[in-house]
């Protein structure tokens, strides 16, 4: 078992979205509990700024893949928890596309047992499948799964393709007080697709994944939600890994109309772009010209790595720089409620193959916070808003039933992360705790080193 957090005083720049507060602070821990949060000012705050050590509530990931049961060579619940803790996450909701799929309470129990057996204090929540075997044909036993305490329902990796089934699932889950977490994709537009349709895919001869393949599915799901919510006020739709400006425009309009829809964006869709597949490694916001259009990596010297790196193969695909900019803007203005990692570890066997034959996914839970901080550094999203999208934002989507209340609250078990924002670390296979080494950032130096992760009053990760 992990140790109870030592009694200590943490000093740094604290961000507490639940309290609506950020600033220099001193957090005193005693017996694993937050004993006192003292906001500092004047001389006491000297040397404690937002560029130094950050004290944040434990991060919450509403979308990750821990591969257990069935693909334990890619990740186990235990290795996923270790990776999460290294990334600053204290709560992770795992997706049900395991083998067998998490589509009945027995498999839920199995995942929970693995989480308990690991000894890690990182909380593992479970999403269950919408349909039996994620087959898209018959509703899974949503009621039994709700009783078993699942956080939501998703056929992630695939959409709930049949409109009628999505409609029924929204109604049925809505009555249970749980969200449908939809992976928006129209397979008729994306079959065999390898990269976002456009300039880069065209030059590289990769089959295009058109924007309409996502935006059309988003629009459809919202239209169905609007229909369902009239009868089932509790119906909730969460659209995960939204990646295009067109999709976000639909979400923005739906929210303005008062519909119970939420969405998340991933770190990789914020910061990486399709030009990375051609060999670029600049952040998305560095790939825009003054007019907000994509620069040409073939003529401006941006291609620094070999093309066709399969760690960049992901679904939805990495988008153009303007789409990535739209994702960041949606994060900043609240259209995107949360940042979800879509942590998708894979083995060398599944990734060290031809680009078009490589399995989709990026191992990303350990690099999420540094990527988001890079966007903050670039001035694209305020720190407090970014932290909110990594803590209270996803917690709200996962629901009150999970009793998730991220924050720095006196008298509660310490659930927080300390990050040295100025320090750097290099992403290597050895530095990643995840079994999945499929990160496009291998070899890259990132700003933002997690020094300490405490979950439920216990030590989940400590540096050195």
């Amino acid at each position: 078992m992990s140790d109870v957090a030592a009694d200590q005083v943490l000093r740094g720049w604290a961000v507490d979205p639940a309290a609506g507060r950020e600033g220099a602070a001193e957090v005193t821990l005693r017996d694993g509990l937050v004993d006192r949060v003292a906001w500092l000012s004047g001389e006491a705050a000297d040397g404690l700024g937002p560029d130094g050590s950050l004290i944040l509530p434990g991060l919450v990931d509403l979308h990750a893949h821990f591969r257990e049961p069935g693909n334990e060579d890619a990740e186990t619940v235990a290795s996923g928890q270790a990776a999460a803790a290294h990334g600053g996450f204290t709560t992770v909701a795992v997706m049900p596309n395991t083998s067998p799929a998490i589509d009945e309470p027995g498999v839920v129990a199995r995942v929970r047992a693995a989480a308990a057996a690991s000894g890690s204090p990182v909380r593992v929540l479970v999403h269950a499948a919408v349909t039996v075997g994620r087959g898209g044909e018959t509703l899974a036993p949503l009621g039994e799964l709700a009783d078993a305490g699942v956080a939501g329902f998703s056929d992630d990796g695939a959409p709930v393709h049949a409109a009628a089934l999505l409609r029924n699932a929204l109604a049925y889950a809505g009555a249970l007080g749980l969200p449908i977490i939809d992976h928006p994709e129209d397979p008729s537009l994306t079959k065999g697709a390898e990269a976002s349709e456009g300039y880069v895919a065209s030059v590289l001869g990769l089959k295009g994944w058109p924007v309409a393949g996502e935006a059309g599915a988003v629009a459809r799901a919202i239209a169905i939600l609007a229909d369902v919510v009239a009868d089932v006020p509790g119906a909730r739709l969460h659209l995960t890994h939204v990646s295009t400006a067109a999709s976000l425009a639909h979400v923005r309009a739906a929210k303005a109309a008062g519909l119970p829809v939420t969405c998340d964006v991933t770190p990789h869709h914020i910061a990486f772009t399709d030009e990375w597949i051609a060999g670029s490694r600049r952040w998305a916001w560095e790939a825009l010209d003054d007019a907000g259009a994509a620069r040409d990596p073939w003529t401006d010297g941006a291609l620094v790595a070999p093309p066709f790196d399969t760690s960049l193969r992901v679904n939805p695909p990495l988008r153009t720089p303007p789409d990535a900019a739209a994702c960041v803007a949606a994060l900043a203005d609240g259209t995107a409620d949360a940042i979800a990692t879509d942590h998708a570890p894979h083995t060398e066997v599944d990734k060290h193959v031809e680009f078009g034959w490589a399995i989709n996914g990026i191992s990303g839970i350990e690099t999420a916070l540094p990527i988001v901080l890079a966007a903050v550094d670039a001035g694209l999203v305020p720190l407090a808003r970014a932290v909110e999208a990594l803590t209270t934002g996803p917690a709200r989507i996962l629901g009150e039933r999970q009793r998730l209340v991220p924050g720095l609250r006196e008298g509660e078990p310490a659930d927080l992360v300390v990050v040295d924002r100025g320090a750097t670390w290099t992403v290597t296979p050895g530095s990643l705790r995840s079994k999945g080494k499929n990160s496009p950032l291998l070899g890259r130096e990132l700003h933002g080193v997690v020094l300490l992760t405490l979950a439920g009053g216990r030590v989940a990760y400590t540096a050195g």
Binding site: G198, V203, L206, G208, T299, P306, F308, E354, F355, G356
Partner: protein, 355 residues
Amino acid sequence: MTAEADREGAASSGPVSAVSAVVPAVDAHPQTQPVAWRHRHLLDVDALTRAELELVMGTTDAMREVLARPIPKVPALRGTNVTILFYEASTRTRVSFEVAAKNLSCDVVNIAAASSSVSKGESLVDTVRTIEALGADMLVMRHPASGAPYLAAEVFGGSVLNGGDGWHAHPSQALLDLYTLRSRLPGGSLEGRKVVILGDALHSRVARSNIWTLTAMGADLWLCGPSTLLRGFEAWAAHGAAGRRFTVTSDVDAAIRDADVVMALRIQKERMASGLLPSLREYAARYGLTTERLRAASPDVVVMHPGPMNEGVEIAADVAVDPRSVITAQVTNGVAVRMALLYLLAGARHDGGNA
């Protein structure tokens, strides 16, 4: 003597200057030559400079001279093991590489994917490692997945020569097309010439590689076909790699008008099943390269096709054998260009060049 004039001489079977800087004497191993080739692999043509393209052209001239000899064979690459690994059916490209390698006295091993352990599910990485362990110095590969040669190059200790990958690139085809065009166009220059690539660009590695090489040489490139087969190229043309002339259109009349070159691309029947085209009949009627359509082109228009042709679909049978067609010359030049590429890569390899 300029490089271009020298190339012209070779293309017309005239004497080759032994002193030209860009035409090496290829009887000896390239390591002994003052060639300025820096690429260990040839995976794509996107990064080739105009000077490098000129070097390939000049070396091809020298190879044509070899091919004109009574015994078209030189010992330049004696002892070099070349493995030809094709994951797709091909006759002309595979045989062309094999003949080219043998003309340079390489030892050649041919692997057709269907007859090897590849069909037992062995990964490309393992296959390439095995080929290297068996002593291959150079690997010529064709693969249905775009980018596959990059994966091979990552693990192979020698040189990888891309013989066509998915929809992505077909470097040797683009270079032989360039060579063929320069030998046919007055003045041997592509500068300002209107070149039309007509047909299924979406699925064509030949089109993609030709876009790079022809625009690099100053051609005014037009890509024409049904809009369903041009998806993504509009974005490419809009980005327009600096200084390149590149137009995308579905208007076949506008494209062919005053064209100096028209290259028709193969249309495959699968395209109808995926809903990209109504029918071959409609394609032939609207985009087929016919004598009638060619009347709008320049009187000296050069007609090309990378083969294999569907006569009566993308190209009329009479156009294919028209005196203005260089389709047969494309095949002949293919051997010379591939000899040049093997030769240049062998030289770079010994210099420790980079991809």
